[in-house]
Amino acid sequence: MKGSRFLAPLYLFASFVPIYWLVCMSFKTNEEILGKFTFFPTSPTLDNYSTIFTDSSWSQSYLNSITYVTINTVLSVLVALPAAYAFSRYRFLGDKHLFFWLLTNRMSPPAVFLLPFFQLYSSIGLFDTPWAVALAHTLFTVPLAVWILEGFMSGIPREIDETAYLDGYSFARFFVRIFLPLVRSGVGVTAFFCFMFSWVELLLARTLTSVDAKPIAVTMTRTVSAAGMDWGVLAAAGVLTLIPGAIVIGFVRNYIAKGFALGRV
């Protein structure tokens, strides 16, 4: 098995090639992209990026994306925390069914909800606001958040809770002062997963926005089709959407494995 340690780098290299190609293109001019075939940009240019940064619709939609992703993440974690605590600590009427029901939402096809969502959010005046997208995404992120947090919380001995109650802590005070610090890493991992889902999802985000709250990923496709395949700008826009993910994952890298160890229901 001497060769096995080269397998991982090999896979990583192979999986990086398509991304490299995108990055590479983003630094090329359209002439170079369409003209001769080159592995590296022969005359690296930042024009594609400056096109994006000088156009306010790009930066605006970038901000839009960040806004609804943040709302969704905060909201999901906040409501999931008490629920995950309940699932990890108590048995109660219908707990198993409730848990299953939550999970089925994680599994439901977004396409099913396209139209109803559109109608729902239009009727309550949230259409084309970050709130519509954030709320729609909670359908998927909240169950996930409950699931992950429950796993983390189950690892905290229940005796700590009991000692706190005996000491006279109120639930709220105990939860904030004692319990939250213990599941800090769990909260981080959960936030990461919520962020991840909300960031990568496009179908609902596109359906629930038109102009004001348009996410970056949508702006990207639309601008490109309008400009008639401006490959360089498309690639640059794509690269820009990779960056938040890469940053966030850098923060939680040491917890990723633990976060995925949600092998428990």
Binding site: P157, I160, T163, D167, G168, Y169, S170, I178, P181, L182
Partner: protein, 370 residues
């Protein structure tokens, strides 16, 4: 608190399984109670119920004369120390100990500071106050948990096998301290659960023997030790396990006791009055010897199974027919499995139990004083 704790017909059943069965008893204020029972006997269930963490299925709990059956744990002024080392991981040792005091709005900052330092000193934690629990050894973590319980001045102090998870040397040192720490509290009820008879004896006070969710005997610790009401109490309150011999007591010119066909001996004085019948004789391992000391000693030939030694003592497990007997002897004694030896049972130390398990006769207590 003048009236202590009163349990009235308390039963706890969860999912059809009985954890506690019809317990009625009073724990006097200032009393130190050792709750003795094997694993899963119901010790933890009883403590949790006393703490208010669990509710009885039926029955009532009164604390200081007031019915607290439905009162939340946080309102009962109870402290509990668990077998696991339970502390607040994100708070320093100081804050851990101070935490119950801080929640009581009436205690001033200086008062808290003084109290925490006093308690920490008693538990030899004074140098560690600024550490986090994770930076402490197991023994220190458990001291912190105890300090928190002590500093609180609770009316009811519950300890659930607090030493069970410590290495034996540390356990040895700490159980001496525990009595010193918890016994001088005349205002509170202290309940200390343990599975270890030696611990129970060391702590003294009163013992409550619990088995399968029932209280099977209670009383002054030494009295219960010397006069177990049933064979089961004897079993639970002996370490190593009490030896039990199935015998027949027969009348004749002189009352005789017969064990497994080959062994027959005259009934010792304290068993003379037993009516002829089948009995189960119990004898603790330290009254089984490898050499004859008294004339009345009963010789039982046996095959050695194993000799376990801790240095100070050696337990020789041996079989006679289908009966396993254990002898406890001083010092290191090595003998190979399978060796034939003679065991000598001190007849004056035999307990007689009826087949139902009830005590029929116990050794006389004055006896054996050197």
């Amino acid at each position: 608190m003048k009236q202590g704790i009163e349990l009235d017909h308390v039963t706890r059943i969860v999912d059809g399984e009985t954890y506690l069965s019809n317990i009625t008893m009073t724990l006097e204020p200032g009393g130190f109670y050792v709750l003795l029972g094997r694993t899963r006997a119901g010790k933890t269930s009883l403590l949790r119920l006393l703490a208010g963490l669990d509710r009885p299925t039926t029955g009532t709990v009164k604390q200081g004369g007031v019915d607290v059956t439905r009162r939340a744990a946080g309102q009962r002024n109870v402290a509990m120390v668990y077998q696991q080392f339970v502390n607040y991981p994100s708070l320093t040792v100081f804050e851990n100990i101070a935490s119950p005091l801080r929640l009581r709005k009436t205690v001033s900052q200086e008062e808290i500071d003084r109290k925490v330092r006093d308690t920490a000193k008693k538990l030899r934690l004074d140098a560690l106050l600024q550490r986090l629990p994770a930076e402490l050894s197991g023994g220190q973590q458990q001291r912190t948990a105890m300090a928190r319980a002590l500093a609180k001045d609770a009316e009811l102090l519950l300890l659930d096998e607090p030493l069970a998870n410590l290495d034996y040397k540390l356990r040895e040192e700490m159980r001496v301290e525990i009595r010193r720490l918890f016994q001088g509290r005349h205002d509170a009820v202290v309940v200390y659960a343990t599975a270890d008879p030696v611990e129970a004896l060391l702590l003294g006070g009163n013992v409550i023997v619990i088995d399968e969710g029932r209280v099977i005997q209670r009383g002054a610790t030494l009295d219960v030790y010397h006069t177990p009401a049933t064979e089961r109490v004897g079993e639970v309150f002996s370490d190593p396990q009490m030896n039990v011999l199935q015998v027949d007591v027969t009348d004749g010119a002189e009352k005789q006791i017969r064990f497994a066909d080959e062994v027959q001996f005259p009934a010792p004085a304290h068993l003379k009055d037993l009516p002829a019948s089948a009995y189960r004789l119990g004898i603790r391992a330290n009254h089984v010897r490898l050499a004859q000391v008294a004339e009345s000693d009963v010789r039982v030939p046996a095959h050695v199974e194993i000799a376990e030694t801790s240095g100070s003592e050696t337990l020789v497990h041996a079989t006679h027919g289908k009966t396993t007997l254990t002898a406890q002897v001083e010092g290191v004694f090595r003998v190979a499995p399978g060796t034939k030896i003679d065991l000598y049972l001190d007849a004056r130390r035999l307990f007689a139990f009826e087949p139902s398990g009830r005590l029929a006769a116990a050794p006389r207590m004055d006896h054996g004083t050197h």
